[in-house]
Amino acid sequence: MVSIVVATHGHLAESLLEAAAMLLGEEKNIWAIGFFPGDSTEHLLLQFQNILNKFENEDILILTDILGGSPFNTAARLAIENSHIEVISGINLPILLDIIQNRTDMNLNTLVSHVINISADTITTLSKNINHNQNDLQEEEL
């Protein structure tokens, strides 16, 4: 199983886990790190290390909010010298749910490619979905 650390500005990480639990139940091997006004990056690094120290040679996926933000940059410092850690930026709830549902069946590399493949489809519009799915109905008797 790929372990997950969600690291974001503010309460977003914690709230993403709370939202995911409403839809999939409570999960193990998943942590939230929040970066708040006045926090130092050393403090952020320490929070990462406290979690990552639990693991040795195990796959860890770090999900961050924006490319180049402090959560991402700090995660990058740890990941760059560790082939068992990958960092994704641009996390949203559909992607998080997908990762949780696939992390037992996929290894880190497969999971990361999968996330990149589905990512664009996680943002959509009502109009597009209405047009797309109505056709489907007309073709089916049921």
Partner: protein
């Protein structure tokens, strides 16, 4: 037709269904069975628009559900039945649909209803329907998510 889940949930397709139950059942199709919604073009349109990836949705009347259930064309179809109330399930059974277990996912509170769990509130008529289903030997399990413990109807009914 393989009915992989019969769920009562008056929110019909929403996050828990789209995320947890679709994957849990591996269903091909979500079949929303409700006489009023099947005739409501706007609600149908919206339900179709939110169909989760990898599955299809039908919104049909009780009568049409019974027809489809008996149609050999759909013998290999893995279907998730979504309904809003136990009354409609009794009608399905009276129409010959074989149901062994019912997942009670969500029945919202309205005045005159009794709240029995966080997500389930029932009227007197709901209670007598559930008791009738129970007498037929059908499992009645209350659960929002597949990962939760099943709470049996009889644990909370009285």
């Amino acid at each position: 037709m393989i009915i992989s889940l019969v769920r009562i949930d008056d929110r019909l397709i929403h996050g828990q269904v789209a995320t947890d139950w679709v994957r849990y059942t591996h269903c091909d199709r979500i079949i929303v069975i409700n006489d009023l919604i099947a005739m409501d073009e706007i609600r149908k349109k919206l339900l179709l628009a939110i169909t989760p990836a990898g599955v299809k949705t039908s919104i049909i009347t009780i009568g049409k559900a019974i027809e489809a259930y008996n149609n050999p064309k759909y013998k290999d179809l893995n279907a998730m039945f979504l309904l809003t109330c136990p009354q409609d399930i009794l009608s399905l059974i009276e129409g010959g649909v074989s149901i062994k277990s019912i997942n009670i996912g969500g029945m919202s509170y309205k005045e005159g209803k009794k709240q029995i769990t966080a997500a389930v509130s029932v009227s007197d008529d709901d209670i007598s329907c559930f008791n009738e289903l129970y007498k037929k030997g059908i499992e009645l399990e209350i659960r929002m998510l597949s990962t939760e413990r099943k709470v049996n109807w009889m644990e909370v009914a009285n």
